[in-house]
Symmetry: C2
Subunit: 321 residues, 2 copies
């Protein structure tokens, strides 16, 4: 039985939206999977009843505190011992759940990922990745999207390995095309960081660690024609993500829609995955709707079922620097 | 009489497209302005005749060489002495033209900008900027968009001053709102570079050097509601530009159009402006159409007429670090 922990207090409209999202997800999870909700038991039960759902379909772990979006991540993680996020990570560390998902404080989720779930052996810096649909329908994995904003070249090189393993294991892409985000296609282009990273990735490709296809310019990310995995530092990755969100919002405000843009709706993306730690952890947008929560839960289940952590462990031990 | 130098050999479809663009521009320039075309005289005259235009409307400076897109910028600038770009910069340096515009090799144009046109006193690193229309109709100036890919905080701080002067002088925006591109709104957010730049820009704002409005997240650039000038390093700025181009291309390929996206058509943007040097230099896309060339010429004229260089000199001498 797979147990997926869900922070019922995470996000702007918790617990209502989270509980509704969990109920939505039930239809997709099957009998081999159970959702464990962390939060105020009474509020959770009320929401379940209000939705005319059977509370026995869920495990509920009562917690008395909540880490707010405005709280300092580390400080609140250390002091709010009975918050849904801290208790969730405790369950994760002790094997009572197989993955943990939240639309709450990204900062606190990262603190838990680093302090409790812990980096896998050999990982230089854990990362967060997102899989986004492209014009040709296949997803592109972008990492890092906001945690490591001052990346060394060695870290980018390892992200190529991690992203490739994720794309192959979780998304089922065979021999994923891994590209380095850069401002020119030629190997001589870029800043100090990407020039150095290019050399390291080229070397790793010769050792057949992964399928490095060279630099990708930002204009080609969303065609899907060049790469399945795009590696960049967290500042640039976050810029790409937020600029894309900005265009999505402008299109929505001007009633412009298409299959391509609709697929970029964050509600459908299933959140972002923390990679390089010893557990499956998924984080969604604070403004997540129930549909976004449902997708976050499904994506968490998928990472668990496909054996993401074991795969990453094996890649890292076979290809340590 | 304002004289605008135009590289007739610049761009993928030169000289045809350049000459046609120059002819298109004539209608907008008025009698106080004359275009000087640099390139092969016979080819230029042929194009002018083919367009049923009077060659006397132009000055033509014959040059026997061309810097190719594939040429090494510095090497070709030093060896191809009779190329349209080198001769154009020579005319600029000796005051025979008041500005120089090309859709040719950006690298060679930058070499000319640095070696011949020369940085203004006090400028740490010249930059290239672009003005792009936003959702609310007003333009946003983004700089640097690709020259300085490893920027120190001090350089970003000076870009705020330069961008503000450009927006006020050339675009007529009063007390332009200058923002630092960052991955969070709070002053504590960002990478080492942007955190340091924030402090410098905050200090400059206290000295009333310019109207610093804090950090801007990439999602807000194109709403036009937050900032008139967005400062970032060249790697990030180029990423923003190319990602935007990529979305524009995807929209075009899927027949999706709107007033907002149509305004982002590079043909209408008038090219990019080199800032921080002692001359007006404009660079356009290699794939420029005649309409893009025409807009590049008009934007060059506008920078000359509004006294951009004098304004920058005065700002720099009043606000040296």
């Amino acid at each position: 039985m797979i147990k997926i922990g869900v922070d019922a207090l995470g996000g702007d409209n918790a617990p209502k939206v989270v509980v509704r999202g969990a109920i939505e997800a039930l239809g997709y999870l099957g009998d081999s999977c159970r959702i464990v909700l962390f939060g105020n038991k009474d509020s959770i039960l009320k929401e379940i009843h209000d939705s005319n759902c059977n509370p026995e379909l869920f495990d509920i772990v009562h917690t008395s505190e909540r880490i707010e979006m405005s709280d300092h991540p580390t400080e609140s993680f250390l002091t709010k011992k009975d918050s849904s996020i801290v208790v969730g990570f405790d369950y994760l560390a002790t094997g009572k759940i197989d993955g943990f998902a939240s639309a709450g404080s990204t900062g606190a989720m990262m603190v838990g990922s680093m302090m409790v779930a812990k980096p896998l052996p050999g990982v230089l810096r854990p990362t967060i990745a997102i899989a986004i649909p492209t014009l040709n329908g296949s997803p592109v994995v972008i990492l890092d999207i906001g945690i490591n904003v001052d990346c060394k070249a060695e870290v980018l090189e390892q992200y190529a390995l991690i992203g490739s393993a994720y794309a192959e294991c979780v998304l089922g892409i065979e021999s994923p095309r891994v590209a380095l985000l850069n401002i020119g296609e030629e190997s001589s282009k870029g800043n100090t960081q990407t020039k150095a990273a290019y050399k390291l990735m080229e070397h790793s490709a010769q050792l057949q660690k992964y399928n490095f296809v060279g630099n990708i310019e930002p204009s080609h990310i969303f065609t899907g024609q060049t790469a399945d995995v795009v590696v960049c530092d967290g500042f640039v990755g976050n810029t790409i993500l937020k600029l894309t969100e900005g265009f999505y919002a402008i299109n929505a405000a001007t009633n412009l829609t298409s299959t391509f843009w609709e697929a970029l709706n964050y509600e459908k993306l299933g959140g972002t995955t923390v990679l390089g730690i010893d557990s499956v952890v998924t984080i969604a947008h604070g403004k997540s709707t129930s549909s976004a929560i449902s997708n976050m839960i499904r994506s968490t289940k998928h990472s668990i079922e496909t054996g993401l952590i074991e795969r990453l462990k094996s890649e890292l031990s076979n290809n340590s620097l």
